[in-house]
C-alpha cells in the first residue's frame, strides 16, 4: 500500500474525540473555576482589598489550589475530562509549571527541578514576554 493511500485510510478510520461532550465539560469546569475566581474577588474586596489587589490575590489563590491538587495527583484526573476547562484559566499554567518540577526532582534541585521546571511552560513565558515588550513599544510611541 502506498503512503498516501494508507494515510487516507488511517484518517478515515480514526475514532473521533467526543467534541460535544468535551466542549460541555470544558464549559462547565472552566465556568466553575471562573465563578470561584469571581467569588474570591468579591470576598477579597469585601475584606477591604483594592480592585487590582483583589485580582492579584484571586490569581495567587487559584495557583495555590492548582499546585496543591497537582501535588496530590488530583489535578490531572480532573483535567483529562475538563480539557480546555482547566487549561485556559491560570490553573493550566500553574499545573504546567509544577508537574515537570515534581517529575524531575529525582535528578536534584539544580539539574532536575531548576533545569526542567519551565520545560512545558517555557514557550508561554518566552513569547508572552516578547509580545508584551512589542506591545510596550507600540504603547510608548502611539498609545
Amino acid at each position: 500500500m502506498k503512503k498516501d493511500e494508507y494515510k487516507k485510510l488511517a484518517k478515515e478510520t480514526a475514532p473521533r474525540s467526543p467534541v460535544l461532550k468535551d466542549c460541555l465539560f470544558a464549559f462547565l469546569v472552566g465556568g466553575a473555576i471562573c465563578t470561584l475566581g469571581q467569588a474570591l474577588r468579591d470576598l477579597y474586596t469585601m475584606l477591604g482589598a483594592e480592585t487590582e489587589l483583589a485580582g492579584t490575590l484571586v490569581s495567587c489563590t487559584l495557583i495555590f489550589i492548582t499546585v496543591w491538587l497537582t501535588g496530590f495527583g488530583v489535578f490531572d484526573r480532573i483535567a483529562k475530562h475538563a480539557g480546555a476547562g482547566t487549561l485556559v484559566p491560570i490553573t493550566g499554567f500553574a499545573n504546567a509549571v509544577v508537574s515537570p518540577a515534581i517529575d524531575n526532582k529525582s535528578e536534584g534541585r539544580v539539574a532536575g527541578v531548576g533545569t526542567k521546571i519551565f520545560s512545558v511552560a517555557g514557550p508561554v513565558i518566552l513569547f508572552g514576554v516578547i509580545a508584551s515588550a512589542v506591545w510596550g513599544v507600540i504603547y510608548y510611541f502611539w498609545g
Partner: protein
C-alpha cells in the same frame, strides 16, 4: 529475508511477569507472578523501579526453571528508556553475559529470535530474554510530565507497567519456538505519536503476509495470531490491511494491548502498549495455555514504533517493525 525453520528445538522452559497496580486490576491480573501496589517496587525513582521489575522478573523465571543466573550463557534484554538502562542496571546482579536490545515494544520477540538462532547454532544453551516498560518512566521521557493535565487522543495508548522474563534452552519441556521471521522497518507516513497503532499496523501486516506466503499457510492454520500492542486502533487497521491482501484473520487474531486492561472501566483509550505489554500477556496467559495443550500453534508478532521524542519534535514519520515467532507445544510441530 525468509522464514527460518529451526532444526533443533528451542524451548521456553519458564517465564515470569511482574506488573503494576493498574495491570493487576485488569482482567488478567491474577495470572501475573508479582505486582506492586504503588508501582515503585520499593525504589525512589521510576527508573529504578523499572530496573527492579526486570530483576524481579528474571529472578522468578530462574527460580521456576530451577537454575541460577550465572548458568546463563547470555541475557538479551531491552526497555524503552534512553540507553536501555532499566535492563543494564536491573540485570547487573545476575553476573551473566549481557546484550542490550532496542526494538521498542517488539523487543521481547526480537530477543526470542536472536536467542533461538544462537541456541540453534550450538554456541549457547541457556539464554534469558527480559524486557520491561514502566508507565511513569516512559511518560516523562516520551510525552508530558506525569501530573500534567490534558485530554488524551482517542487513538492514544497507555504504557504498561510490566516486566517479563523468559528462559530459552536447547532442552526441556513445555513450549517451543519452531519458526521465525524477522521484521522489516516500515514507514507509511504516520507521524502522530498519539497514534502508534496506526504507525505499527503496516509493519505487522507486512511480516504476517510474508510469513503466510512463504510458508503457504493461512490464518486457519493457527489457533491464535497475537500482535504485541497495536491496541484497538491498530487491530482494526491490521485486520483491514490483511483483508486487502486476501487474508481474513478475524477468527484467530487478537492483540495483547486490548487484553491487559478492562477498557470499559479504565481510561486507556486504544489499549496498552510498551515492551512489557506483549511480554506479560503472552508469558502469563497464552504461553501457559500452550504448555497445557489448550492452545495449538500460535504466531506471536512483536510490534515496535521506532521513534524518539526528538524525531517526533522534528515532525519525522514513525517507522515501525514487527518480528514474528511461531510457538507450539513441545513435540506438536513434528
Amino acid at each position: 529475508m525468509s522464514v527460518i525453520r529451526l532444526k533443533n528445538s528451542v524451548n521456553i522452559i519458564s517465564s515470569a511477569s511482574v506488573v503494576g497496580r493498574h495491570e493487576h486490576e485488569g482482567p488478567l491480573g491474577e495470572l501475573f507472578d508479582f505486582w506492586d501496589e504503588k508501582d515503585t517496587f520499593g525504589m525512589e525513582t521510576w527508573e529504578r523501579a523499572e530496573a527492579e521489575m526486570q530483576r524481579l522478573a528474571l529472578s522468578f523465571a530462574l527460580s521456576k526453571a530451577g537454575i541460577s543466573g550465572d548458568s546463563l550463557d547470555a541475557i538479551f534484554a531491552g526497555d524503552l528508556l534512553n540507553q536501555c538502562t532499566s535492563s543494564s542496571y536491573g540485570l547487573l546482579p545476575f553476573n551473566a553475559p549481557f546484550f542490550g536490545l532496542y526494538g521498542a515494544c517488539s523487543t521481547v520477540v526480537e530477543g526470542m529470535i536472536l536467542a533461538s538462532l544462537l541456541i540453534e547454532s550450538g554456541h549457547f544453551s541457556r539464554v534469558a530474554d527480559v524486557v520491561s516498560s514502566h508507565n511513569c518512566a516512559a511518560e516523562r521521557q516520551y510525552r508530558t510530565p506525569i501530573e500534567y493535565g490534558a485530554l488524551r487522543a482517542q487513538t492514544s495508548q497507555w504504557t504498561v507497567t510490566g516486566a517479563g522474563a523468559f528462559i530459552l534452552t536447547n532442552a526441556g519441556d513445555g513450549a517451543e519456538i519452531s519458526e521465525l521471521l524477522p521484521g522489516r522497518t516500515i514507514d507509511l507516513g504516520i507521524n502522530d505519536p498519539a497514534d502508534m497503532g496506526a504507525a505499527m499496523a503496516p509493519a505487522a501486516a507486512d511480516t504476517l503476509v510474508r510469513f503466510f506466503r512463504e510458508t503457504k499457510t493461512s490464518p486457519d492454520d493457527y489457533d491464535k495470531i497475537i500482535t504485541g500492542d497495536l491496541g484497538s486502533r491498530g487491530f482494526e487497521l491490521m485486520s483491514e490491511l490483511m483483508f486487502r491482501e486476501g487474508y481474513d484473520v478475524s477468527r484467530a487474531y487478537t492483540d495483547c494491548g486490548m487484553l491487559i486492561y478492562d477498557r470499559k472501566k479504565s481510561d486507556v483509550h486504544s489499549g496498552g502498549s510498551g515492551c512489557g505489554c506483549s511480554a506479560v500477556v503472552f508469558g502469563s496467559h497464552f504461553l501457559r495455555e500452550i504448555e497445557k495443550g489448550e492452545l495449538g500453534p500460535v504466531l506471536l508478532i512483536g510490534t515496535g514504533a521506532l521513534m524518539s521524542p526528538l524525531t517526533v519534535a522534528q515532525g519525522q514519520n514513525i517507522p515501525a517493525v514487527a518480528h514474528l515467532v511461531k510457538i507450539v507445544k513441545k513435540g506438536a510441530s513434528l
